[in-house]
Symmetry: D2
Subunit: 507 residues, 4 copies
């Protein structure tokens, strides 16, 4: 059977790439190749930027109220196609049904935020800043943006985080979709077309890193939004900066949860299961480390192990499955390598997911839930991002010791405390380095009206994705200071000269 070859999307057209290099897209649940996506050529990437640039004047000059009408229409299409899109995510990524559906719901949530663009891009005004001088600030779009996308949220990242606010503000965008999971993104682009989005406002390529670099240096690209590893993020921040762009890079994490002795243990354990093994651990807001207060550590761990064993492993699109495969064979090997490394470093293996086989899906990329106890700060398994269903347990005597361990970590996306105490909740929230804090909340991603605000090596830049930051990232401010003269003033010899930079307004 011939394998389907995907096209790239530029200027409103689905175009067959001129490349002869294609990348395989697997169904991780079966291990089969289900399609192939092109390594777009340098010319094709440049062409996508050109299309975005061409679409910009018309789109940016469309009143924001009209622009968002298309977003509302896209929202309706999202709802109509929810099941189809969910299945697409499950098939290309391997996350189970509820998680795959969440990936699409997380397109809808930022979309709704972006529908509010007219309120949220308003500028500021003041009359008579000095007598006769008025100043008004406007927020304007910038031009073409680039989005560089990882494999793990094929819906949310390109079409929730990167696109809705960007285009609602009047910009156009070129997305470099994830090579392993580009299909959801592309299907969503078709729905955008159906919603009436003008050609060239959204463009999608897949390519290798070399061609992606074009986006970082292209003079017509005004900003870059990236989600991926910390090393690449740093490279992108620095490279795009060197060509004068604004940049936001959302990177790796190693989120810890501190469980204090007054926590609701069984309930906490259930929450941890979901947070640590959900999406097979392949998310930057996963919870791969639990820091347990010693007095309750044994009891907590026994709950966790018990619940982890109950997780039904199976193909993503089987609605009974609670844990699906990881995204690829290579990634499976990497995760197993980390488990081995953990054992080697001296951790205690409480539950071993390395040899997981799902009947009827023997070639799927499954890794079972894995629990390593007695992990210490010295072990890399407890400090580096694994991105798999591997949970490390660290044990501490006190709140202070736990907080210190957490803040020693170089990443700082999420951080969580489980407790009943108002005092420790407040103290933790204030003193943790984590940017998104949870109190009895395992995956403390805030709703999209707040920014997704990682700290330290989990983020490069200053304006985060979503929230009001999102609107700032995708607009630039312009101030207009005005002075008008009547007939008399036109002829005046003695003139007031606003001279802002010598305090003209203060004299």
């Amino acid at each position: 059977m011939e394998i389907k070859k995907l096209k790239y999307f530029a200027g409103g057209q689905w175009i067959e790439s001129k490349t002869d290099k294609y990348m395989d897209i697997y169904n991780p649940s079966t291990g089969e190749v289900q399609a192939q996506t092109p390594c777009c050529t340098e010319e094709e990437v440049n062409y996508a930027v050109e299309c975005a640039k061409k679409a910009y004047p018309g789109w940016s000059d469309t009143p924001v109220f009209k622009r968002v009408q298309i977003l509302y229409r896209f929202r309706e299409l999202l709802e109509e196609h929810m099941d189809e899109l969910t299945e697409l995510v499950a098939r290309e990524h391997g996350k189970v049904w509820s998680e795959a559906k969440g990936d699409i719901l997380k397109v809808k949530e930022p979309l709704e935020l972006a529908c509010g663009a007219p309120s949220l891009i308003m500028g500021e005004s003041l009359r008579d800043t000095s007598s006769g001088y008025d100043t008004t600030l406007y927020r304007e779009p910038l031009g073409v943006f680039a989005g560089i996308i990882p494999f793990n949220f094929p819906g949310m990242i390109p079409m929730g985080w990167m696109t809705p606010i960007c285009i609602a503000c009047g910009n156009t965008i070129v997305l470099k979709a994830a090579s392993m999971t580009p299909m959801t993104c592309m299907r969503l682009a078709e729905l955008w077309q159906e919603a009436g989005l003008p050609d060239g406002v959204i463009n999608i390529v897949t390519c290798t890193r070399n061609e992606a670099n074009i986006l970082l240096e292209h003079p017509d690209v005004k900003g870059v939004s990236f989600v991926g590893t910390t090393n690449v993020g740093r490279h992108i921040y620095s490279t795009a900066a060197a060509s004068g762009k604004r940049v936001q890079c959302l990177c790796e994490a190693k989120n810890h949860a501190l469980v204090l002795e007054d926590a609701a243990l069984e309930r906490t354990a259930r929450g941890i299961i979901n947070s640590s093994f959900g999406c097979a651990g392949e998310r930057c807001m996963a919870l791969p480390v639990v820091v347990a207060q010693e007095s309750i550590a044994d009891e907590l761990v026994s709950y966790i192990v018990k619940f982890a064993k109950e997780l039904k492993i199976g193909p993503a699109y089987d609605k009974e499955s609670k844990l699906g495969p990881v995204v690829s064979a290579a990634h499976k090997e990497k995760v197993i390598g980390w488990i081995n490394k953990g054992i080697e470093e001296g951790a205690t293996l409480l539950l071993d997911g390395r040899n997981t086989v799902v009947e009827g899906y023997e070639n799927g990329f499954y890794v079972g839930p894995t629990i390593l106890d007695n992990v210490t700060e010295e072990m890399t398994v407890g400090t580096r991002e694994i991105f798999g269903p591997v949970l490390c347990i660290k044990r501490v005597k006190t709140f202070e010791e736990g907080l210190a361990i957490m803040n020693n970590n170089p990443f700082a996306n999420g951080s969580v405390i489980f407790t009943q105490s108002g005092y420790y909740a407040r103290e933790f929230a204030k003193r943790t380095d984590g940017g998104m804090v949870g109190v009895n909340v395992g995956i403390p991603v805030p709703v999209g009206i707040f920014p997704f605000n990682g700290h330290k090596l989990s983020f490069f830049g200053d304006l985060h994705t979503l929230g009001k930051d999102g609107f700032r990232f995708y607009t630039e401010s312009k101030t207009v200071t005005t002075r008008w003269f009547d007939e008399e003033e036109m002829k005046a010899k003695e003139v007031d000269t606003w001279d802002g930079s010598v305090g003209g307004d203060l004299k």
Copy 2:
């Protein structure tokens, strides 16, 4: 006579540098060396960062209401010392009295903005984002910032733009003062001490570029604010980005004013004189190019030449002087080089300031007002930053032609239109690339409650200095999502698990 050797300032102490390299500080009005400032060593720069880091925990944990009390006190000291500070600026920089005073008034204006920090750093909150889940966002300080300062606003840039909001938000700062004009900055630091600022919150060094680079890569520096040339700005943005910092770089400009035929010509000409020759053209918001509509160009130019000739040239601290010297002998040579270049490129020299001599101040670095007519887009004299009292005239037939010439310029700080027409004012403000637009306003720097928002090669980064951007640049957001359980819920088997990244809040 022994020349005074300045010290650096770290941890609240004025310390003599261990270096043997000192840089001369001239009085540009006389050409004499008035003091010397050290090339601080690598260790000394590191020590300044260390002091800032050490001061951070105590300062950031001081409630913002208490922090701003010190700002209020500093404001009183500024008013008390206004004349002394004005003279200091005039003596080290060479700008005339009203301009020098403006430099200090422009410390006060952002300071007053920073006094409002309690209102302006408030975060956001929403209860029941999902049933039982509340989210609150806080704006927290980041740690140590670095400020790298050019010679041209010895008061405003370090102590107006960089410091007040930075420290009001709870950060500490290391300033690399301008080698040619560090004295105002240092005197202001003394006043901060007098106002009660704790040791180490502000630290000041002078050094060469090598040592300044330490600040860009130091792991304890969380952000960098820079004002200077575009090439250096680009380097700083990229270098500091590579070490994960947030950055804002305010760079070169070549601001143009478009004068339409319905403008109030004489009044406009007076405004242009002030904007083009004020501060001897040494400011990024100067107006070095006038684009005149042909029908009125001759009349306009004749007014400009007439008024330019009337400018009294003299020493900065003589209150009669209307045009002072440029900052250094080298800079004088550079400006004269540009005038020569303009003539070479074919411009018409209407007024020649190259051979200006002020009686009694024969060694001062004076350049008289210089006007080059018939400058075209092809000439570098009309497109590159000169930073001297040199005005270029370009002539166009129409509004559209004028706008096009202006937008072709790679810089985009300020842009100005002179007209009586509401239509052209609106059209210009919308379509100009300039970030700070003036309508009948020569130097359209907005008051500090608005950001100083240059575009294109005049700025690198995304959050500008001052305005609400200022508070965003100097704070980082943290979200706290909370879920509490009562006794019943603690024991529940069926649990709701917020799972933000799979749309938990949307289910």
Copy 3:
């Protein structure tokens, strides 16, 4: 043929009133009665409040993200039913097709604003307002609101201005629909039901003033929004205030446009036609007075008369009609009375709409476009609200004279200037008493992201409808100040006692 008797709507049920008094609803285009609406009894009005109160706890406790899902769905239904709704407006009110459609579009615009409620009801937060004390502000709904509706915008006023933000914020509402035009409002309520709105969130009655007064004094009604005459508005403001409610009353107007001699005359005249005769003048943002600068007054007036004569008068639902009937026979008499009064007061009748008859619709309530020239400040016809297609011309020598005449008017909804001059536009906008100012814009109603902000006798209250004011009006703020203790602090003898009202936070 039996005339249809409408029901009232309470608790999600359409209920036949127990009253025996019904009010006629006419089709103004034909003069026929098309339906009857009940004078609901005191008990029925109270029951509607009771239903709204009963629905409140569940609705207010539904997370705002879920509440707005129903608004999104209602928006889709609005689009689907656009033509049906437009026809309904045309048939009960008499405004022509494009205007009737506008009435429904003006439901959609505020609805879209209200969809953004999650962003717009966020509160504020600050940590360590004093050491250890944090404060967070939340915006909460209040309970039951009442809306009292005039006849002239049967869609926009109840379902655009009053309902969407009110319910998005978590409140419930009782609408007293207009007796003459309740059908659009009721049909829209059916669509709300179809969209999934819980029973009792919206309730609708029709009744006489006596029963409406119940809403002003009912202890369970927390706020009142009213649109209608100034006298009633004042009564409502005072009465509802006496029972402790928050109130907004949008009242009468007499908007003037000042036409300066540099205006684009023909274009201006076309704009005036639309503004003065659109909706047959039955809107508070109509333009019933033109103040013309003498130098161009004759030319301007001749254009206006010419274009007015060209207006095709006919039944509202005939898409060819440009001017429909007024709402009732009584109102027709009132308008004609005003024309007679104007003539009596000495105005010059340039165009007389009193004897307008439309063939085939001889019983329709038609009044043709009427123009009175040489109207002066002394004439009541030029200062009081007529609410019909009657345009008064006042003539002035100068801008200042025109502005003075306008500001002498006791009403201040909209005010307009037609000019090309940036100076006069700014001066007018600053100095006019009008709350909604137009520069070359005849009906300067801003889009709904801005408040509809009338001044003087055109408004009672302080928070206007729509814009961010809308969200303030429909929410109440609550601040929570928190201090937590650890084990040590719990036992402390020396205690810090926050004592906000003696400056505890400032010590």
Copy 4:
């Protein structure tokens, strides 16, 4: 000895009243009359309004940056005169030194907020709301405001709450000072003069209720801010509403604290002492009711009684005193009447302050700390405002029972919970009717950047004093919608006519 007769303050002059009626001002610590203040006549009150009206055009047209310079200067004078002002408060009101100082610190805090007016009165802007149409919103002052002041915070209420934001926004004000405590307010007015405030911006009268009513109906008064009893507040809201004014009335309270069994009992008791007996209970944010969970009620009460007995009672200006007199002999009688009433209603008198005599100050108006236990909902002593040092104890079994009792109260200024539990803190904050909530905070007045937001019968109006509400209350919004034409468009026959009220922007 002749008793000093105070003057009133209008148009920058201190004027002797023409009245022959004067009201005594006591020193409550000694019971002696220390001065007399006039019952200003109707003409004098009208004159004060006239002065305020006359000052308005000049003051409102002064740029906000200049206006706040005077506020900064007044702030310096406040600091310089802190001790003098503190003593003045202590002498006329009777609160002890730290409380009297707090009264002045609470002038300074809102003043600092008001200094930030330039940032906080900025309006909003959007370009191309429809193609070619821009809208800008400005916040403008309204004119003359009136402030009506109670006796209990002679500094904070007139000069902290009512004046700084009012005048920073460009309004002028007439204050009706408290008859019993006008001297602090008047002294502060002198300092405003010294700070350079123009004549007529602040005006002060004292008078009886009849003359005060003038302010409610005067056509030149645009808004009224009132602090006092609920009955008067309701009258003022309704009366001022009837004449079209905006109004805010801050009224009575009966704040309760719920103490749960997990609270830090001793510490909580200390906090309660301060909150209940501070300012002799004469403040709307006092804590006159403690609702104790039965399991710990006895222990808690025994701590409270013990600490209450330790309070040193004495003259206000003796720095050793911890509890001063109440404001007047009449008020003392009233408070004692309430204690008698409580006993009569069946409460248990645990501590009796009725017969308190301070040696050497036998005629002072002293009431000692009084504690009534076993107070129930049925007793008026536990539900009505007493405004004296009388604490009622109510006992409940559960959190739910306690919350219900609190929400049954008709007042809702502050409400407090003492607990260690995050769950109960959140639940309480969400479900309490109180507008200002404390968690382990006895007097939960938030800092002035937040509004002072009472609910239910504790407040009439919708915009509270202070916070961002403060700036909304003292400004009115104006929107300006602009459309400009070029030469071609001026002549166009086909015209776009913005017609906001028929959805012109949506077509």
